[in-house]
Amino acid sequence: MENEVFIKAENLSYAYEEDDGTPQKAVLRGVSLEIKKGEYVAILGHNGSGKSTFAKLLNMILVPDSGRLWVAGHELTSETFDEKELLEVRRKIGMVFQNPDNQLVATVVEEDVAFGPENIGVPSKEIRERVDKALETVGMTEYARHSPDRLSGGQKQRVAIAGIIAMMPECMVLDEATAMLDPVGRREVMDTVDRLRAEKGITVLNITHHMNEAVRADRVIVINDGKIYMDGTPDQVFARAKELEAVGLEVPQCTALIDALREKGVRIEGKSTTPEACADLLTRFLKKS
């Protein structure tokens, strides 16, 4: 199970169309990758690099112009792909979007969490159980009867995540889900994601441009200009600071700090992508000298 491929893309291309139907410049130009079941992948890239478009291909909100795509054992690009399979894929892949306001449907929190299960025809009694459990998982049980418009941004995103958990997905895609949140809200959401991974072992794709979030992942994929630019562990990717800067991305602050010290001639060994690792390196260095 561990090494089962969950998402496989072969040479995917996509171009948005003008209003008159003529294609614009391609946003995705031959993306090939494999993501395994249970992996935690961060997808980085500056605005317009095609990272959100890639996410929208995964559950057929957009259909690729060319290339092949498999998700959770279904080939989305096959001729025989039908409505039933589509719903199954959308159930397996939950998406959380950027604007917390524009993805909540109902006037009561628990009603909103129930929206997904209701759509796929889960029996009433089971919906109730799933909703209660999902709200508990994201720590929003006490807000079950509240109206979503009184919640903070981070709480709304947690409700959105609960709405996805209630559908029992295999993968969760966060499409810049923390971009509109304050630091507190961002931490709430990322901690919830971490907990979900620990408890349910679901695959997570976090599309972001916050480097501090990317370092939490097992694997970082950098997309630039519609192509995969880098792919590796956070340590591997952030070690190539110069190349990241060339495509308009920064390395995490702690990595940048160590790099800057090294450039000035301070001889620090090791890698740092998280504040903890960075503090560790610095104390060890100071003790040595």
């Binding site: 929208k56 524009n102 993805q103 909540l104 449907v105 006037t107 025809g121």
Partner: protein, 272 residues
């Protein structure tokens, strides 16, 4: 503006609160019919009594109920005045130049007042104060569902209502933000002629519309991602169920109806 109450749901846990929203909707219609059945002083007295009884049973403070009546005070006074001065009858009570007031006019005016009062009490106690908007939407969808057979988009209508309710506060907040932004740029919404003030609203409405469309676009994608594909094969977390108490309520209202018709037969000079 942010604290606007959506509906005026006032939870007290009374029998009426717990009743099935579909039954309440039916009863509200029945009560409206009742108010129009009244023909003489006995039946109007009975409907007035029934309204007061309804308030007591719902356990909603009289003050709260009277507040909702205050909003319609103007209409009530207007009807009163029109009826007093415009009704022609046989027993002249007062005459001055062109003003003639007949006894029938005063009786009519009082009847109309009672009728409006009962209408407001009936609908607000049975629906707005005791039923959440979401329960009401459910009830409407459920009651109208037979119309799906003739291809009327009942589910879609209910969904639209839910989404509208969901986005009213969000759009209110947005309007406030845009107004603040325009004020910061020197816009003036409070001075000048009516036309000038109306024109000042255009820079608020245009961004509001643009953003509403963008929201609609994002929401539709989010809904599709959550497997929304119309009402077909859809289940619901809440299941509406009629209980014995709902039928008892119905019987009470039916008795009221029958009682009013009987009271109408009594002879009295105070009749419509």
């Amino acid at each position: 503006m942010k604290n606007i109450a959506l509906g005026q749901y006032y939870p007290t846990g009374s029998v009426i609160h717990r009743a099935d929203p579909r039954m309440k909707l039916i009863l509200a219609v029945l009560f409206i019919v009742c108010t129009f059945l009244c023909k003489n002083i006995y039946s109007f007295g009975a409907i007035l009594l029934a309204s007061v009884l309804l308030v007591l049973v719902s356990r909603i403070p009289l003050k709260t109920v009277l507040r909702s009546i205050r909003a319609l005070l103007f209409i009530m006074i207007f009807t009163l005045v029109i009826n007093v001065f415009m009704t022609k009858g046989e027993v002249l009570l007062f005459e001055w130049k062109f003003i003639h007031i007949y006894r029938e006019g005063i009786v009519n005016a009082c009847f109309m007042l009672v009728r409006i009062f009962a209408l407001i009490i009936g609908t607000s106690i049975l629906l707005t104060y005791t039923t959440t908007p979401i329960a009401l939407t459910d009830a409407i969808e459920s009651l109208l569902s037979p119309l799906k057979k003739i291809k009327l988009p009942i589910h879609e209508f209910a969904m639209m209502m839910t989404i509208a309710l969901r986005f009213i506060p969000t759009l209110m907040e947005e309007t406030e933000k845009i107004m603040a932004a325009q004020k910061a740029r020197g816009a003036d919404f409070t001075n000048g002629s009516l036309i000038k003030r109306a024109k000042a609203l255009i820079p608020i409405l245009i961004p509001l519309f643009v953003s509403a469309f963008r929201r609609a676009d994002e929401l539709s994608v989010a809904m599709e991602c959550r497997c929304y594909h119309g009402g077909e094969g859809r289940t619901s977390m809440r299941v509406l169920k009629y209980r014995a108490s709902d039928f008892l309520l119905f019987l009470a209202f039916a008795a009221l109806c029958a009682g009013l018709i009987a009271l109408n037969l009594l002879k009295t000079p105070f009749a419509l």
